[in-house]
Symmetry: C2
Subunit: 248 residues, 2 copies
């Protein structure tokens, strides 16, 4: 999700400030009102499963509030997070029956949903929506591939720094804070969830967070609130070649 779109999302339809614009930034008013009639909201508590892997999925939607995770689990219990869903992120696969992943609410989550069939029908008729979804999916694909580099080739310290910089980038985009004297992020994940995202154990995550703190790369305010005094420094630690990077 690009900055400009996020801004548009903020000034979007009053009932659902993010979703309409996120799904289709260029819909005309007819299409907007059709979307309006179709939509409904659902709230999930922290820890609740939104979708189980293998489940039949009869809706698609966007996260409006809160944070959800996409995870895959092997029979023996090893789990890997494959996506992090922040407000404005889309959930669901138009044209697919089932979900391949577990989707779980990390905090309380509000979703804006559409029943899948009518949504798919509308997608067929309104090219803009399909086009927008293609762009969003390409963004997700880029993010997934960037994460493959993190998982396959980075050290534990670099992995932590990568995760923090991605979360920092996304939350500064959403909150639009200038961040001249450092960025503060509210870490929405437990150490275990971070470990599942990074392909590490929670002990290693804890140790590396402590190490980054000891070395002055980050400042902890409690367990979950993290201050990043120097973003450049963090990106260096992450081994990122450019400050830019892809939308996640």
């Amino acid at each position: 999700m690009l900055l400009s779109d996020t801004l548009m999302a903020k000034e979007g339809c009053s009932a659902c400030p993010i979703r309409h614009r996120a799904v289709c930034a260029r819909c005309d008013s007819d299409e907007l009102s059709r979307l309006e009639e179709m939509k409904y909201y659902r709230t999930y508590e922290a820890g609740q499963h939104i979708i189980w892997s293998g489940d039949r999925m009869d809706f698609v939607g966007s996260v409006v509030k809160g944070i959800a995770t996409l995870t895959q689990t092997m029979e023996d219990g090893r789990t890997q997070m494959v996506g992090l869903l922040l407000p404005s992120d889309f959930v669901g696969r138009p044209g697919r029956e089932g979900s391949a992943y577990d989707v779980t609410a990390t905090t309380e989550v509000v979703m804006c949903c559409f029943r899948r069939k009518p949504f798919e029908r509308m997608m067929e008729e309104t090219p803009h929506v399909a086009h927008r979804l293609l762009q969003m999916t390409l963004d997700e694909l880029d993010a997934a591939r960037e994460w493959m580099l993190v998982l396959g080739r980075k050290t534990a310290r670099e992995k932590i720094a990568s995760l923090l910089s991605i979360i920092a980038r996304r939350s500064t985009l959403l909150e639009q804070q200038a961040a001249d004297d450092g960025v503060a992020i509210d870490l929405p994940l437990t150490r275990e969830a971070m470990a599942d995202y990074l392909g590490l154990t929670l002990e290693t995550v804890s140790r590396q967070v402590s190490a980054l703190k000891r070395d002055g790369v980050i400042v902890l305010d409690g367990k979950r609130r993290i201050l990043i005094p120097d973003m450049e420094r963090l990106l260096e630690e992450a081994g990122d070649d450019s400050d830019g990077g892809l939308p996640v």
Copy 2:
């Protein structure tokens, strides 16, 4: 790419047996002839770069013949393969200027290409194409996420088995061999390329391939040709929960 589509691809337009159907399985003849006028072919030698990361990319296309890889590289030289392109796979990002990855020909590769701008224009006008591309991109996203589990949580032995089963699945789909008495695959990758795909070193790849051979899970015929006497056994070794799996 689904089995049914691959079959359709095989009986598709004579000049380019795979591409038209791959891009749009449901185009009517007008659209097909427009595609026909736009297309051109390019051949790349083994080892040649098709696209450099960061390059402006003025075309999109499909692999018709040969194998190409998608890789990401850090400044210090660590590299991670993020995709494997077999015949019928699509290359390029409609709506994007540059490529985020290096695309390299592993064998001799024939690509069927379209200049990006006209292709994008056509995409706007023919919803089927956009829809088809969305489906293909969703497949790639699923494959990327499945790979995240491999990279983040599997052991070296499981990683090798996962790679072999994915290549076996894909090549049996393409070649349509029944494979009752085992599957034979022509490994199109060096040990180093396999290592880059799996987030390992080439020594570890070599050792684990030897171990799988010793344990009778695979049979080597030279360095590159691999026989899989029992596919179920291999999938077990890969730690895959189901024999099914996603299209890659």
